[in-house]
């Protein structure tokens, strides 16, 4: 179960980025998986550099968070490229963002080569928790907590801050928001950068547990889409619940009927599509 929740936490961050950008900018951004992969690679490099420069290992989490946030600086650049297809047919958006996925894979190969990158065994730097005959790496709990905290912060930001109100208003009706004096272009840049940060932070956070591979984002995009279909496209709450459903269901399937690992998820996806086609929480950026 805990393994499923851990998976759900990383899945939520990528799906949340996808949701936020779609909710506000109406762009189906396949490149959210690439941000995740880039975040992982950049995280390895930053940690290697920081530890080499004498930073204590216990700062691992802070370094990873910082590297994810720093890397989100590519958000405005990518948003500038995507600006050319706002309002265009979804197939154009898919094509362009998929092209970005392929380009980012090459970027990764250019900077980091073809070998998987990992960072020794920093995974256990925060120790292990032993409970009821089970050993749980504390880092897993940290990632789960970070996922929950980010979900709460996102919810709070969207509901309770001025920027959140502007974002929600822009998502509902961009023309009216513009008429009321909202600088839509700036909102879009900020929202996209935030969406990028969710992916890059997700990738950076998960890297001590795994290894960075150029195509690691692709699988996650597919799962993130399952999350989005279950939760409802554009809904932050949907991303949270959808990620939990997918993560936990996958873990239960692996423990009981391993052959059903993917099938179980898609049965739920089909069920939601039939019974509630818009998803469980279909409402833009709420």
């Amino acid at each position: 179960m805990l393994g499923g929740v851990f998976h759900a936490a990383t899945l939520f961050l990528v799906a949340a980025g996808l949701q936020l950008v779609f909710g506000v900018q109406k762009i189906v951004n396949l490149a959210c998986g690439s941000f995740y992969a880039l975040g992982a690679y950049f995280g390895v490099s930053m940690v290697t550099w920081a530890l080499g420069a004498g930073a204590p290992q216990l700062l691992l989490l802070a370094i990873l968070l910082a590297s994810g946030i720093l890397l989100a600086a590519i958000g405005p650049v990518v948003e500038r490229v995507l600006r050319t297809i706002y309002g265009r047919d979804e197939s154009f958006q898919m094509l362009l963002t998929f092209a970005l996925v392929l380009m980012f894979e090459d970027v990764i190969r250019f900077f980091w080569g073809t070998s998987p990158h990992q960072m020794g065994n920093l995974y256990l730097v925060y120790g292990q928790l032993k409970a009821g005959g089970l050993t749980i790496p504390v880092y897993n709990l940290i990632v789960i907590a970070a996922g929950g905290l980010i979900a709460a912060l996102m919810g709070g930001m969207l509901q309770r801050t001025r920027f959140g109100r502007i974002v929600r208003a822009t998502a509902e009706n961009p023309r009216m928001s513009a008429a009321l004096g909202v600088d839509i272009t700036r909102v879009y840049v900020r929202v996209f950068t935030l969406g990028t940060a969710l992916g890059t932070v997700g990738g950076a956070l998960v890297i001590p547990v795994t290894a960075a591979m150029s195509e690691m984002g692709i699988d996650l995009i597919v799962e993130a889409f399952a999350v989005v279909v279950i939760g409802g496209l554009g809904s932050m709450r949907g991303a949270f619940v959808g990620a939990l459903i997918v993560g936990v269901l996958r873990a239960v399937a692996i423990a009981t009927y391993p052959e059903m690992e993917m099938l179980a998820i898609y049965i739920i996806v089909i069920g939601v599509l039939v019974i509630r086609p818009a998803g469980l929480f279909a409402k833009a950026a709420t």
Binding site: T114, Q118, N121, T210, A211, A255
Partner: protein, 423 residues
């Protein structure tokens, strides 16, 4: 003059003869230029690193041959394309054969691609020397009478060897086994072979769980949890990419590496990722057909690993040896065929004839092609140790088995062969 049907056909025949003569002239001309060898390494995705290692082996062989005067005085020119999906790779193979008119194509890692390339090599009459790809459907050969296709050792060789070593090292120490293997033919066939051999050796073990994560999975926490629940004494895994180290890291984090035994027949392909920090000692680890750190390496292996490390800051994997062998085997075959035909450059048919049964020194020792075009090589596996100068595990002792011991003979089914063993 009126052109009758007969005259037209005669003319056509004449033209064909002339065209044939032209082709002969062209091929005679080609025989004085460089030998063109097409190369098909994987460049993207989970096996990109494997492709890179294969290409390095081909390049190293080529550089050495060219530096010593080429093959019968002709230099080798490599035309590097890419292995990707079967369909796209077939297109690139066609381009190499028809447009670039290569003398041979070296490459092919995925058996999915191999199954597509084999028939095309036959159709285009182009010599294809595979690195790692076979033309097996499951564990059985799909092209027993191939002429132009020469393919790698059987896919399941390393699983067969690891199973034999499991019986040797862990008999009486295990009661339950579990498998976690990539969900495609290779992973499934390896697990089936392992279970069959456990039975053949009367190991008295019960398989308690078999997990099939998708190839390229990077997160195994749920799989590890399921294995914790099943509590197997031994876990068998055919992981061969980043999945090997990720799984071991996650298993180690929950304390599973302390008491469970592990068998990883082919993870030596990514040996540098198997860090001591999370890879236990005493695990059966396979390096397929080349181990980079033999106690008494041949001068050739010593030279290659040294140059490889100096250039790439990496210790090489067996794919380099597969690539290397295809080039030196081609050279040996051309020289053998030329000798038989009085020093003349041999035809493709003569080269093929010479390749059948040819032996050549490769990085890992002597290798050969069987008469049915299947590669024979030595396999290296052993028990992992932390006693070395690296931050990753190596093996000690190093056990070597020949393909005679771990590969089914020509024309025999895998399970018939296993059942025929006297153990």
């Amino acid at each position: 003059m009126t052109t009758t049907r007969r005259n037209f056909l005669k003319g056509l025949g004449g033209a064909a003869v002339a065209a044939g003569a032209h082709l002969d002239a062209a091929s005679a001309f080609a025989q004085s230029g460089p030998i063109k060898i097409g190369v098909l390494p994987i460049k993207a995705g989970i096996a990109a690193q494997t492709g890179e290692f294969g290409l390095r082996g081909v390049q190293w062989a080529t550089d050495r041959i060219n530096a010593s005067g080429g093959i019968l005085g002709r230099k080798i020119e490599l035309l590097v394309e890419e292995e990707s999906s079967p369909k796209d790779t077939v297109e690139r193979f066609r381009k190499l054969a028809l447009q670039n008119k290569v003398d041979a194509v070296s490459g092919g890692i995925s058996t999915g691609v191999g199954l597509a390339l084999g028939p095309v090599a036959e159709e285009l009459k182009t010599l294809w020397l595979s690195w790692d790809a076979t033309t097996q459907k499951g564990v059985e050969e799909s092209m027993p009478k191939a002429k132009y296709a020469f393919r790698s050792c059987d896919n399941e060789c390393e699983a067969v060897m690891a199973s034999i070593l499991t019986a040797r090292y862990f008999r009486g120490k295990i009661k339950t086994v579990a498998g976690i293997n990539p969900d495609y033919s290779y992973g499934r066939d390896n697990w089936a072979a392992f279970v069959a051999i456990m039975k053949k050796y009367n190991m008295g073990v019960t398989p308690v769980l078999d997990l099939w994560p998708k190839l390229g999975t990077t997160e195994f926490t749920s799989h590890v949890a399921a294995l914790q629940q099943a509590k197997p004494d031994l876990i068998f895994s055919s992981f061969w990419a980043a999945d090997a180290s990720i799984f071991l890291k996650q298993a180690h984090a929950v304390g599973m590496t302390a008491n469970t035994k592990f068998v990883f027949p082919v993870a030596g392909l990514v040996h540098e990722t198997l860090k001591k920090a999370f890879t236990p000692e005493g695990m059966i680890l396979g390096y397929n057909t080349m181990y980079f750190e033999m106690a008494n390496p041949s001068p050739l292996l010593r030279q290659f690993t040294k140059e490889h490390y100096e250039k790439f800051r990496e210790w090489p994997s067996y794919e380099s040896d597969h690539g290397y062998f295809t080039i030196v085997a081609y050279k040996a075959a051309v020289e053998k065929a030329a000798k038989a035909s009085g020093g003349k450059w041999p035809s493709t048919d003569q080269i093929i004839q010479a390749l059948e049964g040819i032996e050549a020194e490769s990085l890992s020792g002597m290798r050969r092609y069987r008469e049915d075009h299947i590669m024979e090589a030595n396999f290296y596996q052993g028990l992992t140790t932390h006693k070395n100068r690296y931050d990753f595990v190596t093996i000690d002792p190093v056990v070597m088995m020949t393909t005679k011991q771990v590969q089914k003979p020509s024309g025999v089914g895998l399970y018939d062969w296993i059942n025929s063993w006297k153990v």
